[in-house]
Structure formats: structure tokens, C-alpha cells
Amino acid sequence: MNKRPIRNAALMLLLMAVPALASSPAKKREPVAQEGIELPKPPFSDGIFPCTACHDGKQVPVNTQRRELGMHTEIELQHGPDSRWCLDCHDASSRDNLHLASGEKVAFTASYKLCGQCHGDKLRDWRVGIHGKRTGSWSGQKQYLLCVHCHNPHSPHFKALKPMPAPTRPEDIKLTKGGAQ
């Protein structure tokens, strides 16, 4: 009788291991796979991560008061700045993580869960491939991007771009090239 729970546990482990083993050769890129989604690393600024390099509870004391920061001044918050500040998303007790409204911690590699709390329609579209960009194979393995690869989380509006050259007007082809050549 005693052996049965052990055997069951072993079976469970085996069952859990099988899909993990089966999917492992497919992951060639950065190993940030959640829910079977292959994602590249979050686009951290150079040298900014891990946050605990400074925010280890000793060098920088924890201050949960909402205020203007002396550090990180390059960040311009244009994402509901009246009602939001750093610790609404960043976690004060576990600096290398983010947290949801519920307090549940979320790694930076799964930040889409955090975004999806408010932008649920976009998260739903992103999961099925309507919102956001995918590369790779249309029938097989694809690479996704995190929300934050295209939208700076502190200022999420998609930034304007310089357009690439316009097509040549037919009359200009004649002028510059002497006909069809």
C-alpha cells in the first residue's frame, strides 16, 4: 500500500516529462517559452537587468511612496501617468519581477500577462496571431514578439517612422535613364 503513492508520483512525473522532452528540440532560440510560445528576450536597456544589482534592499532602500524619481530619469511615463507609477507594475519586494493587479508575480519574459490585464482584447488577438508580428514558418515553428518589443511600456504609442523611398514617377525614369534602360 505504501508504494502506491510513490508509483503514482513517478507516473505523474513521467507524464509531465514527456511533453517537455518532445518539445525541447524545437526550441532553438532564447529559451523563453511559456504556453508553448517562443519569444525572444525582453528588450532591456543595456546593463539595466537584473534590477537587483542595485535594488537588493541594501544599496537602495525600499520606498513605496509615489514620487518623482532621482534615478531612471530617461523614462518618460506616458502611459496613464495620472493614475499610474512604477510600483503598479514593478514589484517592490521582488525587483526582478513584475506583478499583476492581484499581486501575483510575473517574470519580464511573460510581461504580456501584465499588459493583458487592461488590454485583454489585444492579448486575445496576439495569442491567435492577429495582433503583433510573427516570423518563421506559416505552417510550423514561429517566433513571436512580446508587447514591449514594439510598444515601449512607459510610452506605448507606436512611434512614427521615416518612410522608405517612393516609387519613381514614370516621367523621371525617362529623364534620368533615357528610356526604358
Partner: protein, 311 residues
């Protein structure tokens, strides 16, 4: 007697031309006369006598591919692979373009040129991005294709890239007098550049301006050649033939079944591509959950290219 008619690929043993066999003699004679009459000095006898692509046997296709690859090797001094992959069973390609996200940056236009070996001078572009007024909606009378501000998107405008719509009832195919363009089983409308006579009827018939003509010898530097090509797609073209978007046939039908170049370059993720027969594909999700329209639907060309609003 049918025996006396010139056949597509004469036996290679009779390369010496006139003399040994009657068929080879006639072949050479016909080719020489035709060359003299049409002024197509560069056309080889084999090329002139090549049959329609769909009528070729496997061996004949292999011979033609070997000939083309040798020609490209000589011209560009690098190995160019010419694929002939056929349609994948159970696949019909569909394309979605999110008009609410496109910002008109033209990254797709130039990625396409690079991928598909278009002539660089004058540059042939398979995608044309139209800038339109938000107030007017999709209205071709208020469309501008030569816009060039410092930054896009511009206030009050939206952008609509137009390329081959891979119609289910393609008017371009109906008018081709020689059958040099046809619709494949996976929905891609292709052109056989070796069969095209350059009459440009298809260009007149296409309501989307999606077909383009090589008025001159295409100018393509060896360094710019994309060596991964397909016979019915992006292999370097000769002068005097029509070309068009093929949903990057060399990628989408290739071994890795990759996305098209325009899908992969788009910085806003406006472009969606997939199998219309797969209910889980992105394009099916778009069709089932978003507001979708077909461009110039009233013409009943039945595009498999869909515009949608992702918001």
C-alpha cells in the same frame, strides 16, 4: 505527319545540328529562322523550343532548370538555385492586411524588391502603398502613391498597400492569349517567363495594377541577387516579360514554408499570411473575428487577399 514537327527538347546527342537526324535539323532550322525573324538574338534553340511549363515531363523540367542555373551562374558568378516545388496538398494561401495598423513606411515594398530579384533600374515594385484621406475612406480618387514626408503616418491619413490579390477569378488569366499565366492549386497566380510573349494584356485586365513589365533588360547587380529562387517566382527575368507578386512562392512553398518577405519585415505586424483551409491559421482567425473587406469586390474577381480592421 506529326513526326516532322519540331519537338520541345531534341535529344541531346544531336547537338551537332544539321546532318545526323532530320528532327534535329528541323529544330535548328526553325530556331534559326525564328531568331532571324523575331530579332531575339539571345534566345537559345532549347529555350525557343521549350514547351509550356505545365506540359513538361520531369526530365524536361530538370533539363530546363539545369540550363537556367548554368545561365545564372555565368551571368552573376554565383550559384542560384531554381526551385520547382509544386502546390502543397490541402493548402490554399490567404493574406490579410490590417488597415488600422499600416503606417505606410514602405518597408514591405523594398523587402519585396530585395527578395524577389526585381530590376533595380528602373526599379520594379510589386507593392504599391497608397496614402488616403481618413475623411474619404478607401477612395482611389484621393489616393497618393508618391507621398514622401519626413515621418509616417501623417495626420488625417491612412495607408493601403496594394499588390497582387491572387484572385479566385483572375481577369489577367482570362485575357492571356498564350496561357503563360495561370492559377495554381494553392491559389497563387504565376507567370512562366519563358512562355510570356510580352503583350501586356494581363496588365490591362488587372484592376489592381499588380502586374509589371520589364521594358528593358532588368538591371540586377550580382551582389543583389537572391540565390533562393523558384521557376514560377523570383528567378531573374528576361526583358519583355510581365511579373507580379507570387506570395514569395520560393519561401512559402519551400522546405521551411516560411512567411513572405513582406510579412516578416512589417514593423507594425499589419500583414497576416496562412492557409485558408487551416482553421487555426492567423488568416482564418482574422476572417472569423474581424471586419474584413475585399478590394473592388464589385468586380467579382474574388481576391484571396483581404483587408481588415484589427481594432
Amino acid at each position: 505527319m506529326t513526326e516532322q514537327l519540331p519537338m520541345p527538347t531534341p535529344p541531346p546527342s544531336d547537338e551537332s545540328g544539321c546532318g545526323t537526324s532530320r528532327r534535329a535539323f528541323l529544330g535548328t532550322a526553325v530556331a534559326t529562322v525564328a531568331t532571324a525573324l523575331t530579332g531575339c538574338g539571345k534566345l537559345s534553340k532549347e529555350e525557343f523550343l521549350q514547351h509550356h511549363f505545365k506540359e513538361l515531363s520531369k526530365d524536361e523540367v530538370a533539363t530546363i532548370i539545369a540550363r537556367l542555373e548554368a545561365e545564372y551562374k555565368e551571368k552573376y558568378h554565383k550559384t542560384v538555385k531554381v526551385g520547382t516545388e509544386g502546390p502543397i496538398p490541402g493548402v490554399i494561401f490567404g493574406y490579410g492586411l490590417d488597415l488600422s495598423r499600416c503606417i505606410g513606411c514602405r518597408r514591405c515594398v523594398h523587402a519585396c524588391v530585395k527578395e524577389n530579384n526585381q530590376s533595380r533600374s528602373p526599379e520594379i515594385q510589386w507593392i504599391r502603398v497608397l496614402q488616403m484621406d481618413k475623411e474619404d475612406g478607401v477612395n482611389l480618387e484621393h489616393a497618393e502613391q508618391y507621398y514622401n514626408p519626413a515621418e509616417v503616418p501623417q495626420e488625417g491619413h491612412f495607408y493601403m498597400p496594394v499588390q497582387c490579390q491572387q484572385c479566385k477569378k483572375p481577369p489577367c488569366i482570362k485575357v492571356c492569349p498564350v496561357g503563360a499565366t495561370w492559377k495554381e492549386k494553392d491559389g497563387i497566380v504565376v507567370v512562366d517567363y519563358n512562355w510570356c510573349i510580352g503583350c501586356r494584356y494581363c496588365m490591362a485586365a488587372c484592376p489592381y495594377g499588380a502586374r509589371h513589365f520589364n521594358w528593358g533588360e532588368p538591371h540586377l547587380d550580382a551582389a543583389d541577387v537572391n540565390p533562393d529562387t523558384h521557376y514560377l517566382g523570383n528567378r531573374p527575368r528576361p526583358k519583355g516579360v510581365v511579373e507580379k507578386c507570387t506570395f514569395c512562392i520560393q519561401r512559402t512553398r519551400g522546405k521551411e514554408q516560411r512567411y513572405t518577405a513582406c510579412v516578416e519585415i512589417c514593423p507594425t505586424g499589419s500583414r497576416k499570411f496562412g492557409n485558408l483551409l487551416d482553421p487555426k491559421s492567423e488568416i482564418r482567425q482574422v476572417l472569423e473575428t474581424k471586419r474584413v473587406f475585399k478590394f473592388k469586390e464589385d468586380l467579382n474577381t474574388q481576391p484571396t487577399f483581404f483587408y481588415f480592421y484589427g481594432v
